[in-house]
Symmetry: C2
DNA sequence: TGCGAATAGGTGTCACAACACGTATATTCC
DNA sequence: GGAATATACGTGTTGTGACACCTATTCGCA
């Protein structure tokens, strides 16, 4: 079904190129999947970006990370990581302390509550992924990941 | 290279599941590709979402589309299509006229300038897609599109 | 040692998106 | 035919992302 997206967007004309069709499919799929995740996270009071930060900080362990390290590990470009962390700090999910070794650095860490929240979210997030992508066979998931990784190489 | 994304995001632990890895790959790839497109469009003064609307309106032809039809054809969910169209109207790229048949409807159409802009953008956008995805073989692009279409079925 | 460049972080301002609510017109059902 | 509901659109408010610019601290090198 090569024209499924065209039907979905109610477009009449064929895509200009195979590359454009692929781009639109990537964008559309990401929008659909991240919307679903966003809706799932809403009752917990965090956005998908915020959840992503919490997961990054959990992965960093007790040493925490400075602002730019968090920013560089985000899935999406985020030029204003300061206020993103501000909001998480205001919500009591992270703390920030200025480093004594290099006073330019401000290390961000999960609070107990932040850690508890991200741990609590593991199961429902996994269930959401299972719900959205569980119908794909392991080989399909692997192929998809590989092709996406390849697609990212040029830009 | 199954762990390329993990290296890219500097994560230590393996992904929790194949589904999660695929989700992250979709999100990351969409972010990278749409960022590139956004940067390409910036000199022309339109965002990727605005460009998307212009393309939708061109596809609709001289009859134009009402607000909700535009909204439903967008790649990403857009609850506030009114002000998106407001901005395009303020930029002189679209016009809106209230329908006489059904006075609830407001039909949006491209202006001459809007049409000229979207036509002018065809070539550089195609070049950008070629630049970002040209290194994939036709069969790879097709497989990728098909798997993404399949992935979208559940949610 | 001292001066300029680079790095880390923050802020002011604006544009844009999200949500809830309000208004006008059309349709449906009694 | 008239009230209730649905549809299409707009608006007020709040929160979030984008960009440019600023300060403080450290580093590099003469």
């Amino acid at each position: 079904m090569p024209n499924d997206l065209r039907a979905e967007l109610q477009q009449r004309k064929a895509f200009a190129s195979q590359q454009q069709e692929t781009y639109l499919n990537v964008a559309r799929t990401a929008a659909v999947l991240s919307d679903a995740l966003e809706q799932m996270l809403k009752p917990y009071g965090v956005s998908a970006t915020q959840y992503n930060v919490l997961r990054i900080l959990r992965g960093a362990g007790p040493d925490g990370l400075c602002r730019n390290e968090v920013r560089d590990r985000l899935l999406t470009r985020m030029p204003d990581a300061t206020r993103l962390l501000d909001r998480l700090e205001a919500a009591g999910l992270v703390t920030r302390v200025r480093s004594t070794a290099d006073r330019r650095l401000v290390t961000t860490r999960l609070t107990t509550r932040g850690r508890a929240l991200v741990d609590e979210l593991d199961s429902p997030v996994a269930a959401e992924h299972e719900r959205c992508l569980g119908h794909l066979a392991p080989g399909q998931l692997r192929t998809l990941s590989e092709l996406l990784t390849l697609a990212r190489q040029a830009a």
